[in-house]
């Protein structure tokens, strides 16, 4: 008996110990790291809140955003009553009404719908373009030179002037093509933003693919006869997922800001179609009497972009295995 126990002592250092804790999946680790980042948690929460709010808001607050009610124009927001009991305000219009009596709260919900829809679709489209170009130029040597020159060229285009240009010039043809000004404008703005913002994603993805391509598991996949398409789909794309996600958040923030900037400059959606940027720019003329009409949409845009940026920051930390666990 004693012999055996001594033997165990001797080989104790060489023996595999029982794992001290159950194995954890990668996404569990990512989530744990993500949860530590307070800003990112706040950002994710706020983004979720805004997204749900603009999707389900119209069912809860069923005032028409474009309904004119000239008798009840220029209401102040409800909180004005705190310091000014004589103000025209009330729960019927908690954020007040504009100079034509349209309810600002309803306008904000509908405006948010448009802004978020533009942001999400432009971001997804730009990711698709960026990832395709990045994967193609990273994986296929022959395409690399051409695609990267193209990326460099697009990167040296003056973005905001060109976006302004495209939106002003193609407003009429697209409107008549799609039948309604809103649809035409939506397609136009989304495609213009996507076409001018895919370059960073393409560069990042290409760099990662170039490094991954030389790794042994790709060699193994190729040696068992996987086709290029399969290698890209099964082995490469899952591995470049995290940089794509981080650039997705950046893309969402840029898309929302660009759309609002276009509306602000008066080249965005038609005038009776509320978006956050449009509400802000319409309110600038009456800023002296009704500063809240500038503040409310402005704060919403800024908060949304801020939360998206924080989300991106947290994702970058959580998805980077070198930072994770520190």
């Amino acid at each position: 008996m004693t012999d055996q126990s001594a033997e165990i002592e001797v080989f104790g250092a060489l023996k595999d110990k029982e794992p001290s804790k159950p194995p954890r999946s990668q996404w569990r680790d990512v989530w744990d790291q993500f949860r530590k980042h307070k800003g990112a948690m706040f950002g994710a929460g706020f983004l979720l809140f805004i997204t749900l709010g603009v999707i389900f808001g119209p069912y809860l607050w069923d005032l028409e955003p474009t309904k004119l009610d000239i008798r009840n124009k220029n209401w102040r927001p409800i909180y004005t009553l705190i310091w000014d009991s004589g103000a025209i305000a009330g729960w019927a219009h908690p954020f007040g009404t504009d100079q034509l009596g349209r309810d600002i709260f309803a306008q904000m919900i509908y405006g948010g719908r448009v802004s978020m829809a533009v942001g999400w679709s432009a971001m997804i489209l730009s990711l698709l373009i960026g990832t395709t170009v990045g994967v193609a130029s990273g994986y296929f040597k022959r395409a690399d030179f051409l695609l990267m020159r193209l990326t460099d060229l697009v990167l040296s285009l003056p973005i905001l002037p060109l976006v302004l240009l495209a939106v002003t010039l193609f407003r009429q043809p697209l409107t008549s093509f799609f039948g309604s000004p809103e649809k035409g404008m939506f397609v136009l703005i989304v495609s213009v933003i996507a076409l001018t913002s895919w370059m960073q994603t393409a560069r990042i993805v290409r760099g990662d693919i170039l490094a991954l391509k030389e790794r042994e598991f790709i060699l193994a996949a190729r040696s068992i006869g996987s086709t290029s398409g399969k290698i890209i789909r099964r082995h490469l794309l899952p591995n470049v997922f995290s940089p794509i996600m981080v650039s997705a958040t950046l893309g969402l923030a840029t898309a929302i800001i660009t759309e609002s900037a276009l509306s602000f400059l008066g080249v965005g959606f038609p005038s009776d179609f509320p978006t956050w940027g449009k509400l802000l720019s319409d309110a600038v003329d009456r800023m002296q009497e009704y500063p809240e009409r500038v503040m409310l949409p402005g704060i919403l845009i800024s908060m949304t972009v801020l939360s998206v940026n924080y989300l991106g920051d947290g994702l970058r930390d959580a998805l980077d295995p070198r930072i994770r666990g520190r």
Partner: protein, 355 residues
């Protein structure tokens, strides 16, 4: 290094040509008609003549080559003529007549066709030159202010990593990063012009600074646009500065410097800062053209009649030559500053050799 610079300069020519082609083709697709404002009583033949006078009758490729010729040969030669004839610095040189050509009919010396704005019927470059100082003053000053604020913030937040200052600094830069200029502009106007009444909300470009009082007005009206633009610059650059400092602070050479007894200020301000400035300087160079583009919105908010506002009004008035020229100037700025950033990177970091 010289080799690299020359190669990049040569390579930037096809880039610029391609960009000009893209912009030109985009404008060709424009449905707008410069004759739309001409009264209906003007007969169609006359309209056709006017169209040809504006250079619209020719096929697309001829128009493009003509534009290239006007922009790259006629306009610079007009500029050189102006320099040798009127300017203070080079006026002593003999007058040149590079932009002049002999008229075949009258035999007199006339100026060659320049790029003409459809809106004002005057040369585009003259208007651009008029608008340039406002933009350069506001944008340039904001960039300098932004850098001057950003670098100390970046250094200190990296040095006191995870301190309260760092947390606050990171938060503020994040906010500055997220708030778009079309909101900060009206916000500042609401606070400082409407509520407090301290600063004027509109930038008066007709103001001539000739006394202490006008200088004060000029400073007052510049504060808000400069601050709006500087906020963006500060947010961006201080983030880069902070991360560059953080990368360098853990390096071995910093420990060596401390171990040999150098003062902390010398370690940070000389050893670490100089190495951290390499990426930051290139970021500063790369951001220059972007700030010209971003100034479009700020100029619009504060009614500064600079280049950005010129582009907007030209766009709305369907003044295609003006739009083309301005967009192309922005493109030249981007290509130029990309080149400068690349060269600076090589000059500042001896580890990087392009040969």
């Amino acid at each position: 290094m010289l080799n690299f610079t020359i190669r990049r300069l040569v390579l930037s020519i096809p880039t610029l040509l391609f960009i000009s082609l893209v912009i030109f083709m985009l404008l060709q697709l424009a449905p707008g008609d410069p004759m739309a404002q001409v009264p209906l009583t003007v007969p169609p033949e006359v309209k056709q003549k006017m169209r040809e006078a504006l250079g619209l009758g020719a096929p697309v490729h001829i128009q493009y080559i003509k534009w290239l010729h006007q922009f790259f040969i006629v306009e610079p030669s007009v500029f050189i003529d102006h320099l040798t004839a009127n300017s203070f610095l080079l006026g002593w040189l003999p007058d040149t007549h590079l932009s002049m050509t002999v008229d075949t009919v009258t035999g007199e010396l006339v100026q060659r066709q320049r790029v003409i704005s459809w809106q004002t019927r005057s040369p585009v470059m003259d208007i651009v030159i008029q608008r340039m100082p406002q933009t350069i003053w506001v944008v340039g000053l904001s960039y300098v202010v932004g850098i001057l604020i950003a670098i100390p913030i970046g250094i200190y937040s990296a040095y006191r990593h995870y301190s309260v200052f760092d947390q606050a600094g990171t938060f503020i830069t994040m906010v500055g990063f997220s708030i778009p200029p079309f909101f900060t502009g009206p916000l500042l106007i609401v606070i400082f012009s409407v509520s407090l009444g301290w600063l004027p909300s509109i930038y008066d470009t007709t103001l001539v600074v000739d006394s202490w009082a006008t200088f004060k007005t000029q400073v007052m009206q510049m504060i808000m646009p400069v601050m709006v633009l500087a906020l963006q610059t500060t947010a961006q650059i201080s983030r880069y500065m902070r991360s560059a400092m953080l990368d360098n602070l853990n390096q071995d050479y910093v420990r060596t410097a401390r171990a040999k007894g150098l003062k902390e200020s010398v370690v940070i301000m000389v050893h670490v800062l100089r190495n951290s400035m390499i990426p930051v300087v290139t970021v500063i160079a790369l951001g220059m053209p972007a700030i010209f583009g971003g100034a479009i919105i700020t100029e619009n908010v504060f009614k500064v009649n600079g280049i950005g506002q010129l582009l907007l009004t030209a766009l709305f008035a369907n003044d295609l030559p003006m739009v083309m020229t301005l967009t192309f100037i922005f493109a030249i700025l981007i290509v130029l500053f990309n080149l400068i950033a690349d060269i600076l990177y090589g000059v500042l970091d001896p580890r990087i050799r392009y040969d």
